[in-house]
Symmetry: C2
Subunit: 325 residues, 2 copies
């Protein structure tokens, strides 16, 4: 989606130039492996775009912080995949699947340290502020992952708890990436907060859209099994809202479907979608997404910089928000 | 051993004042738990002692870096214990034993981030240099742990490989703690290097002594099962040297003992000690230890500060080196 833009190219070439020792092989091979699976690299791009937007002259000085964000994201994928017992990541074997859990734990740890090592290559006068944001966000991501695992064991979750979980697990990292770019460009605290809030709200909207697309997306462009969340009883915004609104026979049907063992995948997805339709769940999810999207756009709008400089950030947000629709 | 000295008291009270959120409980309870098992806290003490030795006036400003070292150490214990499937730590259940592997992975991650958060509370002008040392050491500790796991799968290990492993896995953290103290006190690069080398060599000597005491220590004062390393075929300096020197019938006996399944614990330890005796392995281990100890003392001696200021560091080294003899 973004392979050809100048930020992506800068980031890819910077990360490809990173050299990891040959030994111990089981420590560094998994790091080389996960970085080679390169996702869309939206997070490191946000650091550079934010730096640029706030007028930072030499973007190469923002590359270490940008790589720190990407390394952190990949560290969290390695460890989350162990915890979730996930066999595949970006269509390839996960690290713990290709090697084993111990290798995944330790190489993940090393990658987290490497993230901080990259951060430490930033301009010295910016390091304390960058470190503070990075630490806060990193801890919140851990909290979000723990909440996500806790929710799996519960029978119901409130909508605001869910929003808080996705905020911590995925959105604060987007906000943090943008704030770090702003710090590098010496933006004021107020501007930093606004661009952080923009990222967090955009991230929440993006995750809500992901929930929506998992059920209503076009299989050919979404890239995942449609209905996967329904089949795994994931407590998405759609699931939570339906559980909350259903009564009587509908609630029985909902509970039946959630614990269903003996029906086909198609039947489970089909019947759940019927319930969703009855309560206009698709529309509700779209509304909540829109609410966070508008919050995000308003933050970006309110930034005290000339409108032209914001243009590419609006474009990025548009692309993310109209993905595969 | 050190509970009553002023450094220990400062550290304990600082760490006890640290507040972790109540929720998510499975993220923060294990952190509270492992920190409550408080070991000897030698590592954080080294930060303060070094700061003090190099003339830093306000030791409370060194407490965050000191806590960072202690948190890092405890993070590494949580994750190592998962990898080693260890049921006990400091006589209590390990985190993964008391909760589960997922909780241990994620709370370990969070504790590592908390370590960096503490580091970030240091005087801002020192943070870049502190971060650099901390990152280097943290990565080396991961490398050491990986080497240790790799060695378990091998049939033999060379002595220099073993020394390199214990250096990375345990000693560089002592050196790093001391160097961080020196950085806080604005010591020169040269002085930083010397106190780092002192710590690394002292750490190697300490680990070699640990190998020795595991076989020859007084069970009542050593605090572990004597002969534990022999029973688990751990490739210590004693094991490596014996394997290297043995020939003919002795090598057969050595190999027999290493793979022995059907003999009693007492017989295995007794017969291995006979082999050690034949090749004066105890004496050799003592010699190698002495070599690193002398290297350490020489570094401390050569520091460009008045001898009186070094006195308590010599005392600490003496205590560590004559422990339970």
């Amino acid at each position: 989606m973004f392979e050809q833009n100048p930020y992506s190219k800068l980031i890819s070439s910077y990360i490809q130039r990173a050299e990891f020792p040959a030994d111990p092989a089981d420590l560094y091979d998994p790091i080389r492996y996960i970085l080679s699976l390169a996702g869309k690299r939206i997070r490191p791009m946000l650091v550079l775009m934010s730096s640029n937007m706030f007028g930072f002259k030499d973007l190469t000085l923002a590359l270490p912080a940008s790589a720190a964000i990407e390394y952190f994201h990949n560290f969290s994928l390695i460890h989350d995949d162990i915890m979730d017992k996930a066999p595949l990541r970006r269509g390839k074997d996960t690290v713990h699947q290709k090697w084993n859990d111990n290798v995944a734990i330790l190489s993940g740890d090393a990658l987290l340290v490497k993230a901080y090592q990259e951060l430490g290559k930033s301009p010295a006068d910016k390091i304390p502020a960058l470190l503070e944001v990075f630490n806060k966000v990193a801890l919140e991501v851990c909290e979000g992952q723990q909440m996500d695992m806790d929710f799996e064991k519960r029978t119901s979750v409130r909508e605001e708890e869910y929003i808080q979980m996705i905020k911590l697990k995925t959105s604060v990292l987007l906000g943090g990436a943008l704030q770090m770019g702003a710090i590098l460009a010496s933006a004021s605290k107020e501007q930093q907060q606004k661009i952080y809030d923009f990222g967090v709200n955009l991230g929440i909207a993006f995750q809500l859209q992901d929930d929506y697309l998992d059920v209503y997306g076009d299989p050919s462009s979404f890239g995942k099994q449609v209905g996967g969340d329904i089949l795994s009883d994931k407590k998405t915004i759609l699931h939570i809202r339906t559980q909350q609104l259903s009564e009587g026979a509908d609630l029985l049907e909902f509970n039946d479907l959630v614990s269903a063992q003996e029906i086909t995948k198609e039947e489970k997805v089909g019947r759940m979608k019927n319930l969703y339709a009855k309560y206009n769940i698709d529309q509700y999810a779209e509304e909540v997404k829109q609410r966070y999207m508008h919050l995000a756009y308003a933050q970006l709008e309110s930034l005290d910089i000339d409108p032209e400089s914001k243009q590419e950030m609006f474009v990025l947000a548009d692309i993310l928000m109209h993905r595969a629709k």
